[in-house]
């Protein structure tokens, strides 16, 4: 096999990555001061979900991938620590697209988390910023890493406009919390529960009103500050937070399942030229062509197949149908922070229901990266961040393990609350 480096394969991707890094908040994330140079050798490396290199080598320097290629052609710096990954599989670190990692510590404890909003006194919480309360020492984060998840979009839920999510690195908490992107998106929801009165139409109306009033606020901020404005639908900070949504800079993630809500969201996004992302999307397959035409991605859980009253048209092959129609599909656990480690299994389930394997891997790596605005992430291209996982085998298969996780080029501790419990109780304690 001839020597292939990713710069050869994807020179444009590499340049895009560099550009993206310069233009986004990612540049704020400094690589660890003394990240060692590593060379992973002998592995099957997925430089992108649809392109693998056999017996390949990947070199990490200063937190970045500095070389990747098949065979013996990659020059390994003399200073590099070599990691023999013969027979192993290397992929980009998985990205969880919609969760509450770092926000919710214990789901059922009232004091056990943040970013869980209701509808009273208001369903609008747009000003909430996940980074304000994100806990990088959450007990659930190291557990998520054992599932090969290296970063996550953590955000609030509940109400109509739940607030701003942040794309957080899940690097070892010895270092301060490191946002990849903050904010990552504005979270919203449609459906009978969004505003608490059971009306789905009223929820859409309120969302439209909030966006209208944000525009009004922006146009007449002086009048607003002089108290010469009519009453607006949201508080000042909420309106302020909606401005990047209006300008299309910040994606609006709308959680909705019913076809009618999905169509309403799509119409609103067209009308206001919003950067819409659908989350949930149980009936999204029914408007796959429209979503594809409007370039609206869908974040879904492929196991969510129980019919609901307003969303009864559920199918196991939702992900496969959407992908086939050309929709960008991201896969997410969409649930408890403690269950993020099961992300790869969900990708595997989607494959069992017809999604192509490379699309499933993309759904937990390159697609989340792209839809949240950093297309150089979620790939293993030269110049990109060294967020990667060395797997014992097929990353989506149940018997495989994440053996080594690098975030920003730094090998992560695989110790968790759970591994410590296992150590304590590996032998039955004496009575």
């Amino acid at each position: 096999m001839s020597r292939t480096s990713l710069a050869d394969v994807h020179p444009r991707a590499a340049r895009r990555a560099l550009l993206a890094a310069l233009l986004t908040t990612a540049a704020l994330v400094a690589p660890p001061a003394a990240a060692e140079t590593l060379a992973i050798t002998g592995a099957t490396i997925y430089v992108s979900p649809d392109r693998k290199l056999e017996d390949a080598t990947l070199v990490v320097t200063d937190g970045k991938i500095t070389a990747v290629g098949a065979g013996a052609g990659v020059a390994i710096p003399a200073s590099a620590r070599r990691i023999d990954a013969t027979g192993k599989v290397v992929t980009a670190g998985l990205i969880e697209s919609a969760c509450q990692l770092g926000l919710v510590e214990v789901e059922l404890e009232p004091a056990g988390g943040d970013g869980r909003f209701g509808t009273a006194p208001t369903p609008i919480h747009a000003a909430f910023r996940s980074t304000d309360s994100f806990d990088p020492r959450s007990v659930a984060i190291p557990v998520a890493r054992t599932g090969g998840v290296t970063s996550a979009i953590a955000g609030p839920t509940g109400g109509l406009l739940s607030g701003q999510s942040a794309w957080m690195s899940l690097a070892d908490a010895a270092r301060p919390a490191a946002p990849v992107a903050d904010p990552a998106a504005m979270n919203a929801a449609l459906g009978a529960l969004a505003i608490g009165n059971g009306s789905r139409g009223h929820a859409i109306e309120l969302l439209r009103e909030a966006l209208d009033d944000a525009a009004q606020y922006q146009a007449k901020r002086g009048a607003y500050d002089r108290n010469q404005s009519r009453k607006l639908a949201a508080e000042r900070l909420d309106l302020e937070a909606l401005l990047p949504v209006l300008s299309g800079r910040l994606p609006l993630v709308i959680t909705a399942h019913a076809e009618s809500d999905l169509r309403a969201a799509l119409a609103l996004a067209k009308e206001r030229r919003l950067r819409l992302i659908i989350a949930g999307g149980a009936e999204a397959w029914r408007l796959a062509d429209e979503l594809a035409a409007a370039r609206v991605p869908v974040i879904l859980d492929p196991t969510a197949n129980l019919p609901e009253l307003m969303a009864a048209d559920v199918r196991d092959d939702n992900a496969a149908l959407l992908a086939k129609a050309g929709v960008q599909v991201a896969i997410s656990t969409l649930g408890e922070a403690s269950s993020v480690r099961t992300l790869r299994q969900l990708a595997g389930v989607a494959v069992a229901h017809g999604l192509r394997w490379d699309q499933a891997l993309a759904a937990v790596t390159s697609v989340p990266a792209a839809i949240f605005g950093q297309p150089a992430r979620g790939l293993l291209t030269r110049g990109g961040p060294a967020d990667l996982v060395i797997w014992s085998g097929d990353p989506l298969e149940l018997g495989s393990r994440a053996e080594l996780v690098l975030i920003g080029g730094v090998p992560q501790s695989m110790q968790t609350h759970q591994t410590r419990l296992l150590e304590r109780y590996r032998r039955v304690p004496a009575k």
């Binding site: 397959w285 197949n305 129980l306 389930v349 069992a352 298969e397 296992l422 039955v428 009575k431």
Partner: protein
């Protein structure tokens, strides 16, 4: 094989009579001198007790017969028996509702009229059994009208039964069938300390609950400790703490004990009365012969009132019910074991049991099984110490573990959950075999439900509860292709999910109009 007594409807007749006749046996109005009056319904003391066990349970052998089942032979598949064997290119023959043959193709007695299923490259396993499900009692679509899982009106509702609320047309049933599930224990929820009777079902759609009942399955009772009852009753007058919860458990079983004693005393009194009555009848006959005055008898003793709640708990104390206890914490399980040994009953298994690995010696010494998850943890404080090696450690200790679902989503992939729990065990140096992992979702839950004599493994003579998988059941990419319950194919992947009544004209099945580009 233990035979569970059938309790037909007529065993309830003393109860009906009691309500119909009011104080008939109180005696004040009994005509004098008529010896025949004392021959009342209470002749045979063993008929007296209304035991409150479910109707139509049948005998275990009933599970092995199904006249609807035509012969089926699955040929060429890798057969995992759940009884220690892996047979490459094996043959499995089913007929009349039972397994007739499991083994090499050469010796297989394939009936001429058998439906032949080509299993080349595929796997065959026993049907999957879920020891913890709320299907049917919390039916889809979720909503107030379908919320039948928790009789959350009092902490002890031992008289309630999951069977009463089981909706056999729950759309979740077909989805469980598509996951290779052939039987499950449907339990009341965990709002109550004692939620009520479980309902062991065969996984197939039903019109009335009796059609879903697993034939001959023994009675079960759902109990719960820890956070859930605290949370629910903390706002409803208590108990609001574990202290109050365990005191309430003890009080309930002490009541049942007193109830048992009342009935025992009644039976003894009744027996004495019967003896007296026979003597009186004899004396009366002699007196009549002599033309002397008739000999009168005393009135029959009055039976205590039947209380279905205490009846259930009394049956637990008599060892007639398989007790299933929802517990997460080691200290909760320890306290439940103390309650059981103080009051004199046996716990069949703990459910969820996330801390079981910490006290696996104590549990295994008592023969208590656990039903747990592969990796669900952390969603509440009592679930904070769950570890993925729980089932493996418990198995290594010699205990019976199952992987259960407690979820209409999880029940669709118990095979995958078992695969994950096995992988976690192996990574920790616990050499869980393929057979052991399979038993977590087949033979072991069959034992928890008390139906292991008839199902849970692929062996000749057992019920034809069988799954044909597209590949290894431990692979994320495999699907159940055929699910066979009592010899009948209830799910066929080629034909897709059979729509429930709810889904007719109201679902993706029927509005299957794919978007233009996908047609």
């Amino acid at each position: 094989m233990r035979t569970w007594p059938a309790w037909p409807l007529w065993s309830l007749w003393p109860l009906l009579l009691l309500t119909a006749c009011g104080g008939a046996s109180k005696g004040a109005s009994r005509p004098e001198g008529a010896a025949v009056d004392v021959v009342d319904p209470w002749v045979d003391p063993s008929d007296d007790l209304v035991t409150g066990v479910p109707r139509h349970r049948g005998a275990p052998a009933d599970a092995l017969v199904n006249a609807q089942a035509r012969p089926i032979a699955i040929v060429g598949a890798t057969v995992l028996t759940g009884a220690g064997q892996r047979i490459e290119r094996g043959t499995v023959v089913l007929s009349g509702g039972a397994i007739r043959y499991v083994g090499q193709a050469s010796a297989a007695p394939v009936p001429k009229d058998a439906l032949i299923l080509d299993g080349t490259g595929k796997f065959v396993t026993p049907g999957i059994i879920d020891a913890h499900s709320h299907l049917g009692v919390q039916a889809a679509p979720a909503g107030r009208g379908h919320n039948d899982g928790n009789e959350a009106t009092a902490p002890i509702t031992a008289q309630a039964r999951a069977q009463y609320g089981y909706q056999g047309q729950d759309p979740q049933i077909s989805r469980a069938m598509a996951g290779g599930v052939t039987a499950a224990l449907i339990l009341p929820g965990s709002a109550n300390l004692i939620g009520g009777h479980g309902f062991t079902v065969a996984m197939k759609p039903a019109r009335v609950t009796d059609e879903a009942a697993f034939p001959g399955a023994p009675p079960t009772l759902k109990m719960a400790c820890g956070e859930n009852p605290k949370r629910v009753y903390g706002e409803k007058g208590g108990p609001s703490t574990r202290m109050g919860s365990y005191a309430t458990f003890r009080a309930a079983f002490l009541d049942a004990n007193a109830y048992n004693a009342k009935w025992t005393r009644y039976r003894r009194t009744q027996k004495l009365w019967l003896d007296k009555k026979h003597r009186a009848e004899k004396l009366d006959a002699e007196a009549r012969k002599r033309g002397a005055a008739p000999v009168k008898t005393e009135n029959a003793p009055e039976p205590p009132a039947v209380d279905l709640k205490l009846e259930t708990l009394a049956a637990v104390l008599r060892g007639e019910v398989l007790v299933q206890v929802h517990c997460y914490r080691a200290y909760d399980m320890g306290e439940m074991m103390a309650v059981a040994s103080e009051l004199g009953f046996t716990i069949r298994s703990f459910h969820h049991a996330l801390d079981a690995y910490k006290i696996r010696d104590l549990l295994v010494a008592r023969g208590i099984a656990i039903n747990t998850w592969a990796d669900w943890w952390g969603f509440k404080l009592e679930a904070f110490d769950g570890i993925p090696e729980n089932a493996a450690l418990f198995t290594e200790q010699g205990g019976r573990a199952t992987i259960h679902s407690d979820s209409a989503i999880g029940i669709q992939r118990l095979n995958q959950e078992a695969a994950k729990a096995r992988a976690s065990g192996i990574a920790a140096g616990i050499a869980i075999t393929e057979d052991q992992a399979l038993r977590w979702i087949t033979a072991n839950p069959a034992w928890v439900l008390g139906i292991d004599e008839v199902t849970g493994t692929l062996e000749a003579g057992k019920r034809a509860d069988v799954v044909l998988w597209s590949g290894s059941p431990f692979s994320v990419y495999s699907n159940a292709e055929k699910t066979i319950v009592a010899g009948e194919i209830v799910y066929d992947r080629q034909q897709g999910l059979p729509p429930s009544d709810f889904e007719l004209g109201n679902s993706a099945f029927e509005r299957n109009t794919l978007p233009g580009s996908l047609r």
